[in-house]
């Protein structure tokens, strides 16, 4: 599905990612853990194509039309239309823009790109409501402005609801658990699990092992100072929970 090769990237001349190698196959869920400032969020933004981050070296190879393509030069919206999705750590508020109108515009852009028929407002309304049920979201949210006056937990649910609507092939979940109480986290994790299938893949970024009890990953990677320093199965998350990150430092 996606293969990151020797990825170096930074912002305003400060290097943050210093040679990431990561391969995620179709049907797999990978988790990335790491201390603050290790580059987790940068990695998610670079994958999604944030224009402020500069890739200085390396490639991101992604399957486009059954071909392997380096997507480094694709704009964020082009990546999105190819099925890459980022669930934001801090979802952005967009005053005045109705959630349903926004999501239908996005959905139809993707349809158009994929050569599928666009959906009219009535069908879309039904479609979006069915997805909101998965996340136990109140229907009132779709008629509100995007993320405006949403609580932290509602914003995170809204991210996963958007993922359900847009149905990406590869999704990056950036600290989707932060700011969620245990009940909300369970609902969000259940939603994510329902979206998991053999045709898509996910990269779950988290600070805490807790989320991984609900979204069980196939692999866990530890990111430190812009590099992946250790990769193992889900048990690695438990070890980190117990011992912290220091013992994984390079050279130890």
């Amino acid at each position: 599905m996606i293969e990151i090769r020797n990825l170096h990237a930074g912002i305003e001349g400060t290097p943050i990612l210093k040679g990431i190698n990561l391969t995620i196959n179709t049907g797999e869920v990978h988790a990335i853990m790491g201390p603050n400032g290790s580059g987790k969020s940068t990695l998610s933004k670079v994958i999604a194509g944030h224009p402020q981050y500069e890739v200085t070296e390396g490639e991101i190879i992604y399957d486009v039309n059954f071909k392997k393509v380096n997507i480094i030069d694709l704009a964020a919206e082009e990546r999105a239309r190819e099925g890459i999705f980022l669930a934001f750590q801090y979802p952005v508020e967009i005053p005045g823009v109705n959630t349903a109108v926004f999501l239908r515009a996005a959905f139809n852009e993707i349809c158009k790109h994929q050569g599928a028929d666009e959906m009219d407002p009535i069908d879309f309304d039904e479609y979006i409501r069915s997805k909101m049920k998965i996340l136990e979201m109140d229907e009132k949210y779709i008629s509100r402005a995007v993320n405006v006056d949403f609580s932290g937990g509602e914003k995170k649910r809204n991210e996963i609801m958007q993922m359900a609507v847009l149905n990406p092939r590869f999704a990056v979940l950036d600290e989707t658990d932060s700011g969620l109480d245990i009940d909300s986290m369970r609902i969000v994790a259940d939603g994510v699990n329902k979206l998991r299938n053999k045709n898509n893949a996910m990269l779950v970024i988290t600070h805490y092992q807790r989320l991984l009890n609900y979204i069980v990953p196939d692999f866990v990677h530890i990111l430190q100072d812009g590099k992946i320093v250790r990769t193992a199965g889900k048990e690695l998350a438990l070890a980190v929970e117990e011992k912290g990150y220091d013992w994984l430092k390079e050279g130890k």
Binding site: E77, A80, F85, V92, I94, G96, V97, F107, E109, Q162
Partner: protein, 491 residues
């Protein structure tokens, strides 16, 4: 200066401006022979204009009174922007395109074909075969109306739609009765100047009980350099009549500022309604703030009759300076005044715009929705007055003023004034300020929308309460205009 030289200069100026300014597709100049009076403003000028227009003596007298009053007034510098000083002696107050074989001005058949082409290029076809259906157009070029479409069709239902010049000639009793009845010549500095030198404009009269079958519109084009455009529009809606009126404006890109000082008066009698919509896209100057139109406009409506209704909807996207407060005097009981505005400023544009709602009659209602968008180094102010007179029992007002900032060198201001002299009045005021930032754009892009789509979604969301008041095609136009103006300013 020989004519050939002037043309070269103009083309060069336009090219340079095109390079430095964002795409202003109306910035071209029409090279045409004109009948132009010498620069300067004296009583002699007033006489000359009046004579050129073959006006009756009473019209000349009115102009002269206005001029004498104007000389006692001073240029207003209270708005929240800098301009001028304007040298009123350095302008020519009358520039009319010459007609074919000396035929009459204001008739499409005798209009120079170059002009018909100009309007076609602006998207306003005037000839019989090509003209728009459903919309009657009065086309004003520099100082005069060059033609009005659909007149015969409108006359069948008794609607008069013609240039001001024609109205003074053909319907003097109506003009005498209503001209200056809402905006007297002594109203303000620019209204007085306009009353003295106005050269044309549109006149609409909707008789009793008639719902005007077409949208009426005027398209204003300023072409000549070192001139000003001073037009007056007068719309009268008799008992139980209805009309929707649209106004569009463009001008070539020039290095020097041009003055536009218009007056619009609306009158509604019992149960009548006027909907007045404007998309203003005068040239706004280049990035450095060079050139552009100084737009000093007095627009006011008077709900004379009971249950009558006036609404102003404006999309102000051009002009170096905008000074404009479309207002409603709510005199008839139960009358309704509305003001919906989107004002966008970019580069170094300065806008000070808003409304006045004067409640006099009982149970009068007014609504004000103002959306200001500022970007680059521009300055955008809302200024509004809600005045409730002692007679206005049960008056209601709702005002909402929202500002959106793009980038960090622009500014937005709100100056709401409220004067209430009746205890039974209920007023509400809401205001907000927001910013479009790179994070919002990235968020929308990461969902599959391109930059254009993202900005359009945000701007549409911000302005939707205003856009929904515009006639359909006008709304589409307005959205496109804002998108074009904002391209490249977010990031």
């Amino acid at each position: 200066m020989p004519k050939g030289e002037e043309k070269i200069l103009n083309e060069k100026t336009i090219q340079e401006n095109t390079l430095s300014s964002r795409d202003y597709k109306y910035g071209f100049y029409t090279d045409i022979e004109t009948d132009r009076i010498p620069k300067g403003l004296t009583e002699e000028t007033i006489r000359l204009i009046s004579t050129k227009k073959h006006e009756p003596e009473w019209m000349y007298e009115w102009r002269l009174k206005a001029f004498r009053h104007w000389k006692t007034m001073t240029e207003p510098h209270w708005p929240n922007f800098d301009y001028g000083p304007i040298d009123y002696q350095a302008l020519s107050y009358y520039t009319a395109p010459k007609t074919k074989k000396g035929g009459p001005v204001g008739n499409i058949d005798t209009t120079d074909p170059e002009l018909i082409k100009t309007f076609e290029r602006l998207g306003i076809p005037l000839s019989e075969q090509k003209r728009l259906t459903g919309v009657a157009v009065d086309a004003v070029f520099d100082s005069v109306s060059v033609g009005t479409t659909h007149q015969a069709e409108l006359a069948k239902v008794g609607v008069i739609f013609c240039s001001m010049t024609e109205a003074i000639e053909q319907h003097p009793e109506l003009v005498k009765k209503y001209l200056g009845s809402v905006v007297p010549y002594s109203d303000n500095f620019f209204a007085a100047l306009n009353a003295a030198v106005f050269s044309d404009g549109s006149f609409c009269y909707i008789p009793k009980g008639v719902r005007c079958p077409l949208e009426l519109s005027t398209y204003f084009r300023i072409n000549a350099a070192e001139s000003g455009q001073f037009e007056r529009t007068l719309i009268v809606a008799e008992d139980s009549s209805y009309v929707s009126y649209l106004e569009g404006c463009t001008a070539p890109m020039r290095d020097e500022n041009q003055l536009h000082a218009a007056v619009v008066e609306l009158i509604t009698l019992d149960n009548a309604e006027i909907k007045y919509s404007t998309v203003q896209n005068w040239y706004s100057g280049d990035k450095e703030g060079k050139g552009g139109i100084y737009n000093f406009v007095t627009k006011r409506g008077k709900c004379v009759g009971k249950n009558s209704k006036i609404s102003w909807t404006q999309v102000e996207a051009g002009s170096a300076i905008t000074w404009k407060y479309p207002s409603v005097i709510l005199q008839g009981d139960n009358s309704v005044g509305k003001f919906y505005s989107v004002a966008l400023t970019n580069n170094r544009m300065q806008a000070d715009t808003g409304t006045k709602m004067i409640h006099i009659g009982k149970n009068t209602k007014s609504t004000v929705v103002s959306k200001g968008i500022s970007t680059d180094e521009s300055n955008n102010s809302y200024r509004g007055l809600i005045k409730i007179m002692p007679t206005a029992d049960g008056a209601r007002n709702f005002s909402q003023c929202d500002s959106m900032l793009i980038g960090n060198k622009c500014s937005a201001n709100t100056f709401p004034y409220i004067e209430v002299k009746n205890n039974s009045a209920v007023l509400e005021h809401e205001a907000s300020t927001s910013k479009i930032n790179a994070d919002q754009i990235f968020y929308l892009q990461s969902r599959g929308l391109d930059l254009e789509g993202a900005i359009s979604l945000i701007i549409n969301g911000f302005c939707k309460d205003v856009f929904k008041e515009l006639p359909m095609e006008f709304a589409v136009e307005a959205v496109k205009l804002l998108e074009m103006k904002l391209e490249g300013s977010v990031g």
